[in-house]
C-alpha cells in the first residue's frame, strides 16, 4: 500500500491519455455488463412459472408450429385455470413490406386477459361487433395518424385472403392504451384482429392456434398448472411447452438467435481491441518513463519492485475502468428495464457478473502489463540514465 501513491501518480502522469483509455475500458465493461445482463435474463427466463398469472402454451417443437383449436377446451378444464385465450401471429406490413407491424389474430376474450391495457368500452363493443375490425396501439395510431373509422391496409408476408391476395383491409374500431403511461411499451405498438376473421379468411389456417394464454387462479401453483397443461398433449403430434410469457418471449428469441454465442463473440472482439489499446498505452507510458524507472532502480528499488509497480498500474487502470463500467450497468439496467415497458427485464449486476467482470479486468490488466513490466524490470540503469 505504501507504493500506492507512486502507482497512482504514474498512472495519471499523462492525464488526457489515461482518461481516454479509462473511458474506453469503462465503455467495454459497460457493454460487457449490459450484454451479460441480457444473457442472464435469457438464462433465467422460464426456470419457474411460479409468480406468473398468465401462462403461455406453444408448440414444444418450434414457435412456428401451430396447435389444434380443440386443445383450448381441454386447457380450460385443467384445475387452477380460470380463463383461456388464444392468438395467432399475422405479421402485417404497413405501406412498405419492410415496415412490419406486430399484428396478432386473437380470441374475443384476449383483451380481458390483459388488465394492464385499456380499450374504451364503446370502442370494445364496436370491435366485438365488427368481424373485420381491428384495435391498434396508441403509439402506432399516433405515429401513422390513424383514427377510429379509418381503413387500415396491411400486407401479410405469409397469409393470403379468400381472393388469394396478401393485401388485407381492416377497419380501425378502437385505440389501445397502457393503463400506466410509464409502462408505454408492447401493447401500445400492436394491432389486434379477430382470430375468427383470420381463421375464416385465410386458407392457410383451418382451426389452428398459434398459442394459448391461460389465466391461473393461484400464482403459486403456476408451475404445477404449466406441467398439467403440457401433460394434456404428451406423446401426441402436438406436444406443448407451457411457460411464463417472459420465458416464452425469451425462448422465441432463443430459437432465432444463440444469445450466448453472440454475447461471447461481441465481448471477445471488444476485449481483444481493449487488450491492444491498453497494451499500447502501457508500453508507451513505460517507454516515456525509462529514465524515471532507472532512477527508482538507482536509489534501490529492486527489479521485483519495478515489475510489481508497472503491473499494479496496469491492473489498477483495468479494475478502475471495470468497476466504473459495471457500476454504471447497475444504474442503467433497472432504468432500461423500466423504460422498455416490461418488454425487457435486465437483472441488476449479480455476484456472478461482478466476479466474472473483475476476473476479466484482473486478467487483462496482467496480460497488458506483463510486457511493459518485464521491459521495466530488465532496464539497464547505466544505459537508461545515459538515454541509450
Amino acid at each position: 500500500m505504501k507504493y500506492f501513491h507512486l502507482i497512482w501518480a504514474a498512472l495519471f502522469r499523462r492525464k488526457t491519455r489515461t482518461i481516454l483509455t479509462l473511458v474506453s475500458i469503462i465503455a467495454a465493461f459497460l457493454l460487457f455488463g449490459l450484454l451479460d445482463a441480457v444473457r442472464v435474463s435469457f438464462e433465467q427466463a422460464g426456470q419457474s412459472a411460479n409468480g406468473a398469472e398468465r401462462l403461455q402454451t406453444g408448440s414444444r417443437l418450434s414457435f412456428i408450429e401451430t396447435l389444434p383449436f380443440s386443445l383450448g377446451a381441454q386447457i380450460e378444464r385443467v384445475p387452477g385455470v380460470n380463463a383461456v385465450a388464444y392468438a395467432n401471429w399475422f405479421g402485417g406490413a404497413y405501406q412498405d413490406p419492410h415496415n412490419q407491424i406486430f399484428t396478432f389474430a386473437v380470441s374475443p376474450n384476449y383483451i380481458d386477459m390483459y388488465p394492464e391495457f385499456v380499450l374504451d368500452a364503446a370502442q370494445r363493443k364496436a370491435w366485438d361487433a365488427d368481424l373485420n375490425g381491428v384495435v391498434v396501439g396508441s403509439v402506432m395510431a399516433k405515429r401513422y395518424n390513424w383514427k377510429v373509422g379509418d381503413k387500415l391496409p396491411l400486407m401479410s408476408q405469409i397469409f393470403p385472403n379468400k381472393e388469394g391476395s396478401k393485401n388485407w383491409s381492416f377497419t380501425i374500431d378502437g385505440i389501445l392504451h397502457s393503463k400506466d403511461p410509464s409502462q408505454n411499451g408492447f401493447f401500445d405498438a400492436i394491432v389486434l384482429m379477430h382470430w375468427k376473421n383470420f381463421d375464416e379468411t385465410t386458407p392457410y389456417n383451418r382451426g389452428q392456434v398459434g398459442w394459448y394464454i391461460s389465466h391461473v387462479t393461484d400464482v403459486n401453483q403456476s408451475d404445477r398448472v404449466a406441467k398439467a397443461i403440457d401433460a394434456l398433449s404428451a406423446n401426441s403430434d402436438h406436444e406443448t411447452k407451457t411457460q411464463t410469457e417472459q420465458a416464452a418471449s425469451a425462448n422465441w428469441v432463443k430459437q432465432m438467435l444463440n444469445i450466448g454465442l453472440i454475447v461471447t463473440s461481441i465481448m471477445g472482439a471488444v476485449f481483444f481491441t481493449l487488450l491492444l489499446l491498453t497494451g499500447n498505452t502501457m508500453m508507451q507510458a513505460v517507454r516515456e518513463r525509462t529514465s524515471e524507472l532507472a532512477v527508482l532502480k538507482t536509489i534501490g528499488f529492486s527489479n521485483a519492485n519495478v515489475l510489481g509497480m508497472v503491473l499494479a498500474e496496469s491492473v489498477l487502470l483495468l479494475v478502475l475502468g471495470g468497476v466504473i463500467g459495471l457500476g454504471l450497468v447497475s444504474i442503467l439496467a433497472p432504468a432500461i428495464s423500466a423504460g422498455s415497458g416490461g418488454m425487457m427485464h435486465l437483472p441488476s449486476v449479480g455476484i456472478g457478473s461482478w466476479t466474472l467482470g473483475l476476473a476479466l479486468a484482473l486478467g487483462i490488466g496482467f496480460v497488458v502489463g506483463a510486457l511493459p513490466a518485464l521491459r521495466a524490470m530488465r532496464l539497464n540503469i547505466v544505459d537508461a540514465l545515459a538515454g541509450r
Binding site: Y3, L6, A10, R13, K297, T298, S302, V382
Partner: protein, 229 residues
Amino acid sequence: MGNLVEIRNVSKVYERGKQKVEVLHHVDLDIAQGDFLALMGPSGSGKTTLLNLIGGLDSPSDGSIAVGGARIDKLGQGALAKWRAANVGFVFQFYNLLPMLSAQKNVELPLLLTKLSAAQRKKNASVALQLVGLADRATHRPTELSGGQQQRVAIARAIVSDPSLLVCDEPTGDLDRQSAEDVLKLLQTLNREHGKTIVMVTHDPKAAEHATHTLHLDKGTLVEQSAHA
C-alpha cells in the same frame, strides 16, 4: 581515517556490437572516509563509468571494489539494489526528480524501501528538505521549482536515508553560476559538517575546487592527483 572505498586493478570493458571497448584500464584507487573527491577528465575518459562502479550501478569486468568493507563487485543485482538503498545517495546532472510527485514525495522515495512508518518518512523528508533550505517548497512539483532548487531537492533525496557515500554526476552541469555555487556549498557542508564522503564527476575546474582532492582520468587511467586547501 580509514578508506571507505578501495578499488583494486579495476577494468571495465563494454561490448558495442562486435567491438569491445575498454573504458577503464587497471585502476587502483582509495577514497578515505569523509573525503570530497572530484573526478575530472575529458569526455570518454571513464569518469562516469568509475562513478557508476563506485555507486554500485555497474559491475567491473575485472578487479575488485570494496565500499565500507563490502565487496560490491561480488553482489548480485538484488543484493546490490539493497546495498545502494542503504549506503549510497545519488545526484544527477539533470536532477531526475519524478515530475508527478511533490518535492516532499520525491525526497521520501528512498524511505519507501525502509520499514519506517508514513509519519516517520514524512518527518525525515521534511528534515532533509530543511537541511537543503527548501522546507517551504515541500508541496511544489519539480516543474514549479528552478533548476537550482530541483538539484537541492535531489540532494535532499540523496541524503534522506543517511548514506555514508554520495556520488554526484556533474551536479552543476545544468545550472547557472550562482545556483551551481549554492549547490557546491551545500555539498561542502554535507561533507564537512555531516561527514559525508562525496565523489563528484565534473568538467568544471571551479566546481572541482570545492572538493578536497581532484583526480584526473584519461583514456581509462588515473593520471594525476591534486589536493585542495
